[in-house]
């Protein structure tokens, strides 16, 4: 019994090391200007704030990822994006899985308060995220997604809630 107890203690103690490394890296990233890979970063502070007419968003189709920060809470993450009919879209997959729902908090937060700041090529754009769950444009958007990324996002996945899709509209 004592050997079993000691074995469990040793395993738990050894597990503490990677858990500590991950927690430390996550906390460190929260104090950074923007995200890195998977952990949320702090507010997007560097970069010119875009002012002017709605840009031609087609340039994002040549950019693999963008940085996106919500206003509440002011945390940022790296995210895929796509342009369709000169509208900008972001989305979150895995929303139908338990791990996905624990991992991806921003879609839930964005649904409550959609104010967002997006940084692309060092320029920050103020946007408003609006969730899209259905509509005729879904087919074109998901086609644009699968053409750009190795993704299996379909209209059905968006409609079923497995993928949460947002249009990043201009902020009023």
């Amino acid at each position: 019994m004592r050997i079993f107890k000691n074995t469990v203690i040793v395993i738990l103690c050894l597990l503490l090391i990677p858990v500590t490394a991950i927690s430390t890296a996550a906390v460190k990233q929260r104090f950074a200007d923007g995200p890195n890979f998977v952990f949320s970063g702090g507010p997007l502070e560097a970069g010119e704030l875009y002012a002017g007419a709605e840009p031609d968003w087609s340039f994002v189709n040549d950019i693999p990822t963008i940085e996106m920060q919500l206003m509440e809470p002011p945390t940022s993450r790296i995210i895929w994006t796509v342009e369709h009919n000169n509208k900008l879209y972001v989305w979150s997959g895995y929303m139908g899985t338990r791990v996905g729902q624990m991992w991806k908090q921003w879609p839930l937060q964005a649904e409550e308060d959609g104010r967002a700041l997006i940084r692309i090529n060092g320029i920050r754009y103020e946007r408003q995220l609006k969730r899209i769950q259905s509509g005729p444009e879904l087919a074109g958007i998901t086609q644009a997604i699968t053409a750009k990324y190795p993704s299996r996002t379909t209209s059905e996945a968006v409609e079923s809630g497995d993928v949460w899709l947002f249009e990043a509209t201009p902020r009023d």
Binding site: C13, L16, I22, V38
Partner: protein, 42 residues
């Protein structure tokens, strides 16, 4: 066991210091975590 606990405590402190101050360690930790997380979410 006491020596083991001391060793674990030292390892934890070294881990925190390495992630905070050694260049590239935080990236390695994050990328490794991302790999496992992505696999678990599928």
């Amino acid at each position: 066991m006491k020596k083991f606990y001391v060793g674990v405590a030292i390892a934890l402190v070294l881990t925190i210091l390495a992630v905070l101050f050694v260049p590239g360690v935080d990236d390695f930790v994050e990328q490794t975590f991302q790999r496992y997380l992505g696999r678990a979410a599928r």
